[in-house]
C-alpha cells in the first residue's frame, strides 16, 4: 500500500524504526521554544512536572480512573457500511471520540493537564478555544477539580459557536471574546500567552493542541495517544489486520497525532491528515498550513504556517472554527517533511457533503472538523477500492454545529435560527444544497 505524501515535501527515504520515540524539543528541524524569556521557567517547570507525573504510577492510575469513570474510555469503534457505500465500497471504521464526555477528543488532554496543574500547586487555568470544544473540556475539568478557569475565544468564533460559549459559562468559566486580528483561534492564543506571561505564578496555560513551545507538542500528544493505542487493538480484534489508512482532520493536530501515533512504526499503514481547504485551495481562503505554508515560527514553535513574504501571519478561513488556524504542530511538519504522513486539503463544501452523508446514512451527526476526515475517507476509499480498510477518527460530535449546518443546508427558517446573524456568513455555496436535505 502506498499513498503519496504531500508532493514536493516528500523525501525519498522514510525514517527507519522508532518514529514513536520522538521527543521534544525538536522533531527534525521543527519545534523548539520561541517564546519570551519570562515564560522559560514555567515551561521548564511544566516539563519536569509532566515527566515525573508520567513516570509516576499513581498519576497514571488517577488519569486512567478519570478516563474510565468520567470521560467514558475506551471509546468504541463503529463500522459504517451505509456511509462506506459512497466510498468505493471500502470498509470504514470510526473511532468514536465524539462519545467522550464533553463531546470530543479534547477531554483526553485536558484531564491530563488539569491533574498536572494541581500537581504544580497552581489554582488557575487559562485556555484558548476555536470551536469551543477545548474550552468546554477545560471548563469541565476546572469545575471537577476546583480550578479557576478563563477561556479566550476569538469574537468571530464566539458568534459561530455560541452554544459552546453558553456551555462554558454554565460550567463556571469566564469566556473572554478576543477582538484583535482575525478574531479567531490564532488571536485567542496570542491573548492566552499574554495572560500567561502576566500570571504565570498562579496560572497554567492549558493548551489544547500539539502546537506551542516545548513541552506542549510532546505532552499533548502523549495525553492524546490513547486514541490510537485503543483503536489499533480494536481494529485488530475486529478485523484481524491493520487498516490500510488512518484518517483524521488537522487543525493544530492533536486528534490526528493522537490516532496516528500508535501506527507510526507500521509502514504499511498510510496516515492521511485532512486540512481545512475552506473556499478552495486556489482561492487562497483556506487553512491548509502544510499544503500551502512555509517554514516559520508562530506561537512558540517552528513549523509550517500560512504567512506572507514578510513573515506576517495570514488569516486562515474555514467553515470549521476548530480547523481555522494558520499554523500546525511541529511533529506534523516533521511527519510531512519525511513523507510518513500525507496532508490534503478538504473544502468546506466537501466536508459539509460528508457531514450530511454521515447524518443520513448512519444516524451520527459529526463535528464539522471531523467531517473533513470523513470527506477524506470518501476520497481515499474510492482510490483504494473495495478491499481496503479505513480507520477514521471521529474527533467530535456535531451538536455545536447544528446552527451552522442548518444555515448551510437551509433546514430552518430565519426566525428559527438561534445563533447570531453573524453566522449567516456560513451560507451554502449552492442553493441546491438546501433542497437536497
Amino acid at each position: 500500500m502506498t499513498i503519496a505524501g504531500s508532493g514536493a515535501r516528500q523525501q525519498p527515504q522514510q525514517q527507519p524504526g522508532h518514529l514513536r520515540d520522538q521527543h521534544g524539543p525538536y522533531f527534525g528541524q521543527f519545534g523548539g521554544r520561541f517564546v519570551p524569556e519570562a515564560l522559560i521557567r514555567a515551561l521548564d517547570e511544566l516539563d519536569t512536572c509532566y515527566r515525573q507525573a508520567w513516570a509516576d504510577e499513581a498519576f497514571r492510575a488517577e488519569l486512567d480512573r478519570l478516563h474510565a469513570t468520567y470521560t467514558g474510555r475506551p471509546s468504541i469503534l463503529t463500522e459504517v457500511p451505509r456511509f462506506a457505500e459512497h466510498a468505493g465500497g471500502a470498509r470504514i471504521l470510526l473511532k468514536r471520540e465524539d462519545l467522550n464526555h464533553t463531546g470530543s477528543h479534547k477531554i483526553n488532554n485536558v484531564l491530563g493537564q488539569a491533574l498536572l496543574t494541581k500537581r504544580m500547586g497552581k489554582t488557575r487555568v487559562i485556555a484558548e478555544t476555536g470551536a469551543g470544544q477545548h474550552g468546554v473540556a477545560t471548563a469541565t475539568a476546572a469545575a471537577l477539580l476546583d480550578l479557576e478557569c478563563v477561556v479566550y475565544m476569538g469574537e468571530h468564533d464566539t458568534e459561530r459557536q455560541a452554544l459552546n460559549v453558553a456551555r462554558m459559562r454554565l460550567l463556571g468559566a469566564d469566556v473572554i471574546p478576543v477582538k484583535t486580528g482575525s478574531r479567531t483561534l490564532k488571536d485567542a492564543i496570542n491573548e492566552a500567552l499574554r495572560d500567561w506571561v502576566t500570571n504565570v505564578d498562579t496560572t497554567h496555560y492549558l493548551m489544547g493542541t500539539v502546537a506551542g513551545p516545548h513541552p506542549f507538542p510532546e505532552m499533548v500528544r502523549d495525553f492524546q495517544k490513547v486514541i490510537g493505542e485503543e483503536a489499533r487493538g480494536q481494529v485488530l480484534d475486529l478485523t484481524g489486520r491493520l487498516p490500510d489508512a488512518v484518517l483524521a482532520c488537522v487543525g493544530g493536530g492533536s486528534n490526528a497525532i493522537g490516532i496516528f501515533h500508535a501506527f507510526l512504526d507500521d509502514p504499511d499503514v498510510a496516515l492521511i491528515s485532512l486540512e481545512a481547504g475552506g473556499d478552495g485551495f486556489d482561492t487562497g481562503r483556506h487553512a491548509s498550513s502544510i499544503t500551502a505554508g512555509q517554514t516559520g515560527v508562530l506561537h512558540g514553535a517552528k513549523s509550517f504556517l500560512l504567512q506572507d513574504e514578510d513573515g506576517q501571519t495570514l488569516e486562515s478561513h474555514s467553515i470549521s472554527a476548530g480547523l481555522d488556524y494558520p499554523g500546525v504542530g511541529p511533529e506534523h511538519a516533521w511527519l510531512a517533511s519525511t513523507g510518513r504522513a500525507a496532508y490534503r486539503p478538504v473544502t468546506d463544501s466537501a466536508a459539509m457533503e460528508a457531514f450530511r452523508l454521515l447524518c443520513r446514512t448512519e444516524g451520527i451527526i459529526p463535528a464539522i472538523e471531523s467531517a473533513h476526515a470523513l470527506a477524506g475517507a470518501l476520497e481515499t476509499g474510492r482510490e483504494l477500492g473495495p478491499d481496503s480498510l479505513l480507520l477514521v477518527n471521529l474527533s467530535g460530535r456535531g451538536d455545536k454545529d447544528v446552527d451552522t449546518a442548518a444555515r448551510w443546508f437551509g433546514v430552518l427558517s430565519d426566525a428559527d435560527l438561534v445563533q447570531s446573524a453573524a453566522t449567516a456568513a456560513a451560507t451554502p455555496v449552492d442553493e441546491g444544497e438546501g433542497a437536497g436535505w
Binding site: 523548539g32 521554544r33 520561541f34 517564546v35 519570551p36 524569556e37 519570562a38 515564560l39 522559560i40 521557567r41 514555567a42 484583535t180 486580528g181 490564532k186 496570542n190 500567552l193 499574554r194 506571561v197 502576566t198 500570571n199 504565570v200 505564578d201 512555509q294 517554514t295 516559520g296 515560527v297 508562530l298 506561537h299 512558540g300 504567512q307 513574504e309 514578510d310 513573515g311 506576517q312 501571519t313
Partner: protein, 285 residues
C-alpha cells in the same frame, strides 16, 4: 566578568559607556516603524533624538505580538494595515540613523526568519543599524542569529525577566552584545502606575551574573519613573508612552515627552549619588 575574550560592547554599549562617564543613564525610545505612517514614524524617531533620546528602538511591526499590550498592538496593526514592509523598515532605519543616535530594530523572530537571518543582518548593518532586540528569541534558539550578528558586527540584545534563573541570567549576559534588556515585570508592554521592586532586583542580579550594561523596559512612562529607574540601570526604555504621545499629540507630543523624560533621566544619578555609588552605574542594594 565574562566576555574577556570577546568584546561585548558594541555600538549601543559604547554609547552607554559614554553616558556612564558623563554620569547619567541613557534614555531609549521605542516607536513602531509605519505608525501612523512611515514618514511620520521616521520624523517622530528623529524628533525624539533631537529632544534628548540617546538610543532609538525602531519596531518592525508583526501580526502576532504576544509580548505587547493594547497600545503597541494597535500601533503595529495600523502600521501593517498601512502596508508597512520589512524593506521599508530597513530604509527607515537608515533615515533615523542619520539623526546621530544608535538605532536598533526590535522585532519578533518570524519576520527575520522569513527575510533570511543572514540577509537581514547584512541589510540592517548596511542601513546603519546598530543591532536587534528579539523579544521572542532566547539565546538557546539563536544560533543562526548569533553567527549572523557576529559576521555583520551587530549588537544582539536578549531579554531577561524576573523569572530568569541565575544560570539563565549568566547565559543571557554572555550571549548579549551592547546591553541586556531587563523586563521590569512579568507581563506585556504598557503604561503602568509603578515600575516595581522586581526591576531593581533584576538589574542587580543580572550584573551579578556578569552583565556590564543593563537597561530596563516595560511600564516606564513618566519622568519620575525614568528618574527612579535611571538611578540603578544603564538605560531607561520607554515604549507605550511614546506611542500614545505620538497618537494623541503628534510630533509635538513626542518632542515634549522626550524632553521631559530626558530631564528625569538627567536628575536620576544626582539623586542616587546622595545615597550610593551611582556613578559606577552599579545598582544600589
Amino acid at each position: 566578568m565574562t566576555g574577556s575574550a570577546v568584546d561585548q560592547t558594541g555600538r549601543t554599549g559604547a554609547r552607554l559607556e559614554e553616558l556612564r562617564a558623563a554620569g547619567r543613564a541613557a534614555l531609549i525610545s521605542f516607536l513602531p516603524a509605519g505608525f501612523p505612517d512611515l514618514e511620520t514614524s521616521v520624523a517622530a524617531a528623529r524628533a525624539a533624538v533631537e529632544a534628548g533620546v540617546d538610543i532609538v528602538e525602531l519596531g518592525l511591526p508583526y501580526s502576532d505580538p504576544v509580548m505587547d499590550g493594547p497600545v503597541i498592538q494597535r500601533a503595529a496593526q495600523q502600521a501593517l494595515d498601512g502596508g508597512t514592509r520589512t524593506k521599508q523598515v530597513l530604509h527607515a532605519v537608515e533615515q533615523v540613523a542619520a539623526a546621530g543616535a544608535p538605532v536598533v530594530v526590535m522585532t519578533y523572530w518570524n519576520p527575520v526568519l522569513r527575510y533570511g537571518v543572514d540577509a537581514f543582518a547584512r541589510d540592517l548593518a548596511s542601513a546603519g543599524g546598530a543591532g536587534l532586540i528579539t523579544p521572542d528569541l532566547v539565546p538557546d534558539e539563536a544560533g543562526e542569529w548569533i553567527a549572523a550578528s557576529d559576521a555583520h558586527d551587530l549588537d544582539r540584545i536578549f531579554l531577561v525577566a524576573p523569572s530568569s534563573s541565575p544560570e539563565r541570567l549568566a547565559m543571557t549576559a554572555r550571549a548579549c552584545r551592547g546591553f541586556v534588556y531587563a523586563a521590569s515585570t512579568m507581563g506585556v508592554t504598557g503604561v503602568r502606575a509603578s515600575v516595581g521592586d522586581a526591576a531593581q532586583r533584576l538589574v542587580h542580579d543580572t550584573r551579578g551574573a556578569g552583565a556590564e550594561r543593563v537597561c530596563v523596559g516595560l511600564g516606564v512612562s513618566n519622568p519620575e519613573q525614568a528618574a527612579e529607574v535611571g538611578a540603578y540601570a544603564d538605560g531607561v526604555i520607554v515604549g507605550s508612552a511614546f506611542v500614545k504621545a505620538l497618537d494623541d499629540r503628534g510630533l509635538d507630543g513626542v518632542t515634549q515627552l522626550a524632553g521631559d523624560l530626558a530631564a528625569g533621566v538627567a536628575r536620576s544619578r544626582a539623586a542616587a549619588a546622595t545615597n550610593s555609588t551611582a556613578g559606577t552605574g552599579k545598582a544600589s542594594e
